[in-house]
């Protein structure tokens, strides 16, 4: 297939450092202020939606952010934290600069996604849900499916899909992503380019 060959040519675009790891509580207040409700029942229905907004914006939900959501919707922090730990989409730890999703759908599994997870753990020391100590990489194993089954095994690095990938290719992609971001922060703002050299 033509696409399988092209898949590795594109470099992932390293995201510039945005400082999003720190949750700005004013932004959280701003986000939840758009969530309106008319009664107690509706407020409860909106807890998940509010948490999704925060999670989508920052990549994770801190206890302080959870408290703001709870206050806005008239519920307890406890209840909010119960939801955060039950639903797999939420993170309660900050992400790395590059967030990797490893698809663990059946199709990817039978084509070797377990090996990718194993190698991430061997090379970078990160298992599902972990972030490297330098904050460069974080990984999440998607127990469902990323829905790009004809390119399995597939990984999603930041916003771009790559597949099919082998361990070496994944390693290479990540090394380049890290190098690209470091090069970017070194010459921050000089040319406005987000693409790695």
């Amino acid at each position: 297939m033509a696409h399988a060959e092209q898949a590795h040519v594109t470099l992932p675009v390293p995201a510039p450092f945005t400082g999003r790891q720190e949750i700005d509580l004013d932004v959280v207040r701003e986000l939840v202020s758009h969530i309106h409700y008319s009664d107690f029942e509706e407020a409860q229905e909106l807890i998940l939606a509010a948490l999704q907004e925060v999670n989508e914006h920052f990549g994770w939900v801190s206890p302080e952010a959870a408290r703001i959501v709870a206050e806005h919707l008239g519920t307890t922090e406890n209840r909010v934290y119960g939801l955060l730990t039950f639903y797999a989409d939420f993170r309660t730890e900050p992400r790395g600069h590059h967030h990797i999703l490893v698809c663990h759908g059946m199709s990817c599994y039978v084509q070797g996604s377990q090996r990718l997870v194993q190698d991430l753990s061997d090379t970078f020391g990160i298992a599902d849900g972990d972030t490297t100590p330098d904050g460069e990489l974080s990984v999440q194993v998607v127990n469902g499916c990323l829905g790009v089954c004809d390119r399995s095994p597939v990984v999603k690095i930041d916003d771009s899909f790559h597949g099919p990938v082998t361990s070496e290719q994944l390693n290479d992609l990540l090394q380049r992503a890290i190098a690209g971001r470091q090069a970017f922060t070194a010459e921050e703002g000089t040319d406005g380019s987000r693409r790695a050299k």
């Binding site: 297939m1 033509a2 696409h3 092209q6 758009h34 969530i35 029942e41 409860q44 229905e45 909106l46 807890i47 998940l48 939606a49 948490l51 999704q52 907004e53 989508e56 519920t75 209840r79 119960g82 939801l83 039950f86 639903y87 797999a88 989409d89 939420f90 663990h104 759908g105 059946m106 199709s107 599994y109 039978v110 377990q114 997870v117 194993q118 599902d128 127990n143 469902g144 499916c145 990323l146 829905g147 790009v148 089954c149 004809d150 390119r151 399995s152 597939v154 899909f161």
Partner: protein
């Protein structure tokens, strides 16, 4: 993402006639678009094609053409193997679909130089030697009702949808039919629940209508967390108005004051497009108070899930909507007696509700003519694995697995040999080569240990070790167990542990008996559907491929070389997870 703005040019319709006039206008605009003297270019944009660069293709088309042509963002058409694709219609010629292509192919396709990329003509007759798309084996065997608009309309445009017939069933239920008549059509159609259970929808609606407590709700379950099914995602992305119309019809027929759609958080594009559909319908006056002057009221809410597979179970889904942990409860009371906020709630799968508009418009009898004796209509199917063509297809019930796999999906890719197919997501057993002449419907597959379920097929080839695969399926259920009841919470990890023992070469023949005993406990004692079927795939694997399990246990050999048992170095103490 909670708020998606409606299109600002839409009027507010307050009467029957205004709706009919609006529909006529939309149809006229649609016809003019295709009969006009401008080039019309449509790019298929869905989650799967975005992953392959469809947005870049779209941007390139806009850049190449500027204002000289109409560039439309339609959804994918289910054929993942030809993505990204674009459809080019020159004045006086039928639309031709090209794919798969890269951004660099775009100029050539637009000028007509790259005829080699043409897949087919969207229409009935060949053009310039390009055959009609419907003659392509992938589309030829399909019977498209739900997918009729996918890849054709712009999902963000309510006018496109209305021009192609949306909201006609809703209109009929609002003005021309009583609640009883509407439900009678659904009952006559004998449409069964598409989420896996196969419960007749008409019966459920009737008990919903008869329930005395008020207010009542209708909840559409669009949470498909199974690792191989993407039909609901595709429906949301391609034709959100069809789903919305189905839910609204159900609300009117059952006398519910509010409709819900609970969408899994896994597909943001589907959620955005569906929210847009709701916003547009609200602005047009199809949702709200005194709809089109009929005196009927329906409110609507979209709720999104957070990546928990268990929330596909109806009671867990309702808890999730209510903002608590999605853990199922014992039944009875069933949800039509006590559902959301302890009120009667009719819960249906997306695909079931998406069938409803056509049933209301064309009548239950028409629908009942499709399909087999006990399974009426069509079914969406998705596939995974090393096959030539991947995608979402819609076939009439009763097609054999052989023609589904070999004709539509194009058989196995070169270099792969068919070994088996996992049916019913993670909730049923596998089928082998011997079962491929079985018709696809709700009942036939059950006889051999398979299940239609939500219509996802995972085809695995000879290089896949069944022990390893069984472990994957069991581990999936272990991970997704909500941990409420003990048999499921402890039984699934125990099963994984036994399988690991076998994979690492420390299994004994007693382990097979132990698996069966443990599975029996999990199946019989678990509270909800997840636990009750969690060990079924494993049992099916043992039943059909016992020899391979024995090879692991007795000979300490993994025939495919997948399991750690076949590694030359000593196995690590714990299973990699």
């Amino acid at each position: 993402m909670v708020h998606v703005a409606p299109s600002s040019h839409l009027p507010r319709l307050t009467s029957k006639d205004e709706f009919l006039a609006f529909a006529d206008q939309a149809t006229q605009r649609w016809d003019e678009l295709w009969a006009g003297d401008k080039v019309v270019v449509s790019v298929g944009v869905g989650s799967s094609s975005i992953a392959k660069g469809a947005l870049d293709v779209l941007a390139r088309c806009r850049q190449e053409l500027g204002n000289s042509a109409v560039v439309r963002e339609v959804s994918g058409n289910g054929a993942f193997w030809m993505e990204p694709w674009i459809e080019v219609k020159h004045p006086g010629a039928p639309p031709v679909v090209y794919g798969p292509l890269s951004t660099n192919d775009v100029p050539g396709v637009l000028t007509g130089a790259r005829q080699d990329l043409a897949v087919g003509v969207r229409g009935d007759t060949a053009h310039n030697g390009i055959p009609p798309l419907n003659e392509h084996p992938f589309f030829k065997g399909q019977h498209q009702l739900l997918l009729r608009n996918s890849g054709v309309i712009e999902p963000d445009s309510i006018e496109d949808a209305i021009a192609r017939g949306a909201y006609r069933g809703y209109f009929k239920v609002l003005f021309e039919m009583s609640q009883e008549e509407a439900i009678a059509e659904v009952t006559t159609a004998q449409v069964r629940g598409r989420g896996g259970g196969g419960f007749p929808a008409g019966v459920k609606w009737e008990s919903g209508r008869k329930a005395r407590a008020t207010p009542k709700f209708v909840a559409c379950n669009s949470h498909e967390g199974e690792p191989n099914v993407y039909k609901d995602r595709h429906l949301h992305e391609s034709d959100p108005h069809r789903i919305l119309e189905g839910i609204l019809i159900a609300c009117i027929a059952c006398g519910a004051e509010r409709g819900y759609n609970y969408i899994g958080g896994e597909y943001p594009l589907g959620i955005r497009r569906f929210r847009k559909a709701v916003a547009d319908a609200e602005r047009l006056g199809l949702i709200g108070k005194n709809i089109l002057g009929s005196g009927k009221n329906v409110a609507f809410r979209v709720r999104t899930g957070g990546g928990a597979y268990i929330c596909g179970e109806a009671s867990a889904m309702m808890y999730s909507v209510m903002g608590v942990r999605g853990q199922p409860r014992t039944k009875p009371p069933r949800s039509v007696e006590e559902g959301l906020w302890k009120r009667p709630t009719v819960a249906n799968n997306t695909e079931t509700l998406a069938n409803v508009p056509d049933i209301i418009v064309n009548g239950g009898e028409w629908y009942a003519k499709l399909g087999t004796e006990n399974s009426k209509g069509t079914k969406l199917m998705t596939n995974q694995g090393p096959m030539n063509r991947m995608g979402v297809v819609e076939v009439e019930m009763g097609m054999t697995l052989n023609s589904l796999f070999n004709d539509i999906f194009g058989g196995m890719r070169e270099g792969y040999t068919f070994k088996g197919v996992q049916t019913g997501g993670v909730s049923a057993g596998p089928l082998t080569k011997d079962h491929l002449d079985i018709p696809v419907d709700f009942d036939s597959l059950g006889d051999v240990g398979g299940m239609l379920g939500s219509g996802g097929w995972v085809i695995f080839d000879e290089s896949v070790c069944v022990v390893d695969f069984a472990r994957y399926l069991t581990a999936f259920n272990r991970y997704e167990s909500c941990s409420k009841c003990v048999p499921c919470r402890l039984g699934n990890p125990a099963l994984v542990e036994i399988l690991d023992r076998i994979r690492f070469g420390r299994g004994t023949l007693d382990d097979l008996a132990l698996i069966k005993r443990t599975s029996k406990h999990v199946i019989e004692l678990s509270l909800c559907g997840l636990g009750q079927v969690a060990p079924v795939p494993l049992l099916g694997m043992i039943e059909h491929y016992e020899e391979e399990f024995r090879r692991h246990i007795v000979d300490h050999v993994c025939p495919t070389g997948t399991c750690p048992i076949s590694a030359t170095e000593p196995a690590p103490a714990l299973a990699a997870d």
